[in-house]
């Protein structure tokens, strides 16, 4: 069985725990230093999706809100799916998600996207109403409440996305 490579974008504002999610999940990755140098960090994870074997190449991209630089849209090009990360302590979850989703869709169209609401360990009952976003961003496949700390829903996050990509 041949292995199918897929490029995945991981995007989200500064300090929402993107990099921790990656660390919890991947098989191998380049050093964290790259993200501060060229604005992207690449990691790899093998995953089974149905009868297919996928190699996810995860591009952890500096989001537009990380600093004053614009997001480098060429990094987003050619992605098969995306994970947009926010966290329950963020003040404007809806608005920041929109900015990232716009960046993504303006380059790739509505690719399968999973929203990760991170740091759920801090308030396990927290829920965010994703309904208004679903209308404008038809690529959103699921919203998962994750914790890089406890590992909650981290594997699932990538599994759901992989499943959606291979559908």
């Amino acid at each position: 069985m041949s292995i199918i490579q897929k490029k995945i974008i991981l995007i989200g504002s500064f300090s929402v725990g993107k990099t921790s999610l990656i660390r919890r999940y991947v098989d191998n990755s380049f050093s964290d230093d790259y993200i501060s140098t060229i604005g992207v960090k690449i990691s790899k994870k093998m995953i089974d999706a149905g009868d297919k074997k996928l190699m996810l190449l995860i591009w952890d991209v500096e989001g537009a809100l990380d600093n004053i630089r614009r997001v480098n849209k060429t990094y987003i090009k050619g992605a098969a799916g995306a994970i947009v990360v926010t966290d329950i302590t963020s003040e404007h979850i809806g608005e920041t998600l929109k900015i990232h989703l716009e960046d993504l869709y303006s380059v790739n169209g509505p690719i399968p996207t999973v929203i990760a609401v991170n740091k759920i360990d801090k308030d396990p009952g927290f829920r965010f109403d994703m309904e208004p976003l679903l209308k404008d961003y038809p690529g959103i496949a699921a919203t998962l409440y994750t914790s890089a700390k406890s590992g909650q829903n981290v594997e699932e996050l990538f599994a759901v996305l992989a499943g959606r990509i291979t559908e």
């Binding site: 199918i4 897929k6 060229i38 990094y75 050619g78 169209g109 209308k135």
Partner: protein, 611 residues
């Protein structure tokens, strides 16, 4: 006693004053004493520290200015006076300072020293090479063999020394690894190694990282010319050479510096010519492309080419010379052949300038020369800048570029800006060929933009277009543009549209889709199965009766209903895009009647290639 009395009286009268006078006398004596040098020094020395620190505290600059000349001079004197002693004192301090600086700020130190060190090393190396050459030459002088004489003869012929010839013949360079990478996604298409032990463990990650670096350099650093690209990364005596074309690029890891540029361009263009469509649509699944065949083509990169390139030119010149000699007796015929040869050479030179020297990949490239000597160039490039670049390059060759770019503002004005000053009668065979090129460019562009399958036939004075386009609007634009560009001929159109899907209307306050629209939904799904590339955009409007937010809510619910109904029937949900409004559609007047309200509660459908 009298004296005593006098004394008494005196004491009574002057006792107090006497004490004062005595004190004054003592003070005067002390003052006289204080003017003596030693005492003055003693006293001032107690104060001087306080005075200096107060002066420094109050005005540091002034104080420093006042004493600087003395200090500098003092230091200079000191330096002149005791070189050896100073060295002894300073040596450990300087050494440890440098050590610490090197440890802490290595890069800064390297930057500072680089200009000097670079020159020094290159001087040293070139003198070493000179010595080596001398030595080789001397050794050669002392040996005799047939091979040596042969080499000597060739060196003379090329105008270089025999030692240089030897150096050229010895080749220590090697290609260790070759990667073919999809440009947009950075996904690895093929990796190939000289030997098994050169294999990269994480080739896919390396491909992604290289692509990121490439994007980074191209986007953030090279802003002077949009066409300049990262072409080489060097590390130690290895380097990664990068050559890109269309939708993929080659990255080749080499050792001991070889100039791979031309070879890379040639090999890559072979792959791109054969597999351009597969490369463009590559999505990470290697079974979609003939990897084995690409590996065969790429493996040419491992083959070492010795310095034969230069010699190869001689036979061509020789053949030409002989051809001209043979052709001469046949007079005019020979001359025209020669002219044709010149024309071909010019065309080839232009092609080389564009594809090899400027590394622009042109799809469906075609070069032909008109009778007046003007070269016509057609084809398709990805970027607008590439198109402009080609136009500029063509000028030097008296060439007219009809090269089109996928990025042109074609969607907006839909006009192919061909040169119009041609003879519309098209009697000569050249003009027919020119017209065919125009038609070809036109169709390549339409099909590239709309992923359509329009084809044409060109017989006599008639052109027929047939195929499928996305919707009526684009069909109308296409026909208009064809008439504008090819209106001097008789045109026939057999164009189908993917589409029109009828509107769906809703009852007042209802979100249910009436059963009569089942056929509409089924048709949408059937079309979707046939034209999977297209997005179906659904616009939901409402009647503006009642509050806005209620109308919006109802529109959302209707949108969901239609979306679900389509997905249930097998429509790919990623290809459904819904836009819900509380307002009436534009085609209904806002002061309308009850009938208009009924018509406003509708869903309309559009097929689009973009989201």
């Amino acid at each position: 006693m009298i004296l005593d009395d006098y004394s008494k009286l005196k004491r009574l009268l002057f006792d107090e004053e006497l004490a004062t006078i005595n004190r004054m006398v003592r003070d005067i004596r002390e003052l006289e004493h204080a003017q003596e040098k030693d005492v003055l020094v003693e006293r001032l020395s107690q104060l001087i520290t306080q005075v200096v620190s107060k002066a420094i505290q109050e005005n540091r600059g002034q104080f420093y200015g006042a004493i600087q000349p003395i200090i500098s001079k003092g230091l200079l004197d000191e330096l002149h006076r005791s070189d050896e002693e100073l060295q002894k004192i300073l040596y450990p301090v300087i050494l440890s300072t440098i050590q610490e600086q090197v440890h802490k700020q290595k890069d800064l130190i390297v930057d500072a020293l680089y200009p000097i060190m670079g020159n020094m090393i290159s001087k040293y190396v070139s003198s070493a090479i000179k010595d080596m050459m001398l030595e080789i030459n001397q050794k050669l002088e002392n040996s005799l063999s047939f091979a040596r004489w042969k080499r000597k003869f060739r060196a003379r012929l090329l105008g270089i020394s025999e030692a240089q010839m030897l150096m050229q013949e010895a080749d220590f360079s090697s290609v260790d690894a070759v990667f073919l990478i999809h440009k947009e996604s950075g996904l690895l298409i093929v990796d190939l190694y000289r030997e098994e032990n050169y294999k990269f463990e994480e080739a896919e990650m390396v491909a992604s990282m290289l692509s990121a670096i490439r994007s980074f350099v191209n986007d953030w650093i090279s802003n002077d010319n949009k066409l300049s690209e990262l072409s080489e990364i060097e590390y130690g005596n290895s380097s990664i050479s990068i050559e890109s074309a269309g939708s993929s690029y080659l990255a080749v890891v080499t050792r001991n510096k070889i100039d791979m540029k031309d070879k890379l361009a040639k090999v890559l263009s072979k792959v791109v010519d054969k597999y351009s469509r597969e490369l463009m649509n590559y999505d990470g699944d290697t079974s979609s492309i003939d990897i084995a065949d690409i590996k065969v083509i790429l493996s040419a990169l491992f083959v070492k080419e010795h310095t034969a390139a230069r010699e190869k030119k001689f036979p061509i010149l020789g053949v030409l010379f002989v051809t001209i000699l043979l052709a001469a007796p046949t007079g005019w015929y020979g001359y025209t052949e020669y002219l044709a040869y010149k024309v071909k050479q010019k065309e080839l030179a232009l092609k080389e300038l564009i594809t090899e020297k400027n590394r622009i990949h042109v799809y469906d490239m075609d070069i032909t020369t008109r009778e007046n000597g003007k070269i016509i160039l057609s084809g398709m490039v990805l970027k607008k800048e590439e198109k402009e670049r080609i136009e500029a390059l063509g000028k030097g060759y008296n060439a007219l570029s009809m090269v089109q770019s996928v990025e042109d503002d074609f969607v907006r004005n839909f006009d192919v800006n061909f040169e119009k000053n041609f003879d519309t009668s098209f009697n000569s065979s050249f003009d027919r060929r020119y017209e065919t090129m125009r038609l070809k460019s036109f169709i390549v562009k339409i099909n590239g933009l709309y992923r359509s399958d329009i084809s044409y036939t060109f017989k006599g004075n008639e052109v027929s277009f047939s195929g499928t386009l996305v919707n009526e609007t684009i069909k109308k634009k296409f026909i208009e543009s064809a008439q504008k560009n090819f209106g001097h001929r008789v045109l026939h159109f057999d164009i189908r549209t993917v589409t029109k899907i009828e509107n769906i209307y809703f009852e007042f306050d209802s979100v249910e889709i009436a059963p009569e629209y089942t056929a509409v939904l089924d048709r949408a799904v059937a079309l979707h199965k046939q034209y999977g590339d297209y997005f179906l955009k659904i616009y939901i409007y409402n009647d503006e009766i009642g509050p806005d937010y209620i109308n919006r809510k109802i529109s959302y619910a209707r949108a969901d209903k239609i979306r679900e109904a389509l997905i249930e029937r097998g429509f790919d949900e990623q290809k459904v895009i819904v836009r819900s409004f509380a307002k009436r559609p534009d085609f209904i007047d806002s002061n309308g009647t009850a009938d208009d309200s009924q018509l406003s509660r509708c869903a309309t459908f559009e097929w689009e290639l973009n989201k």
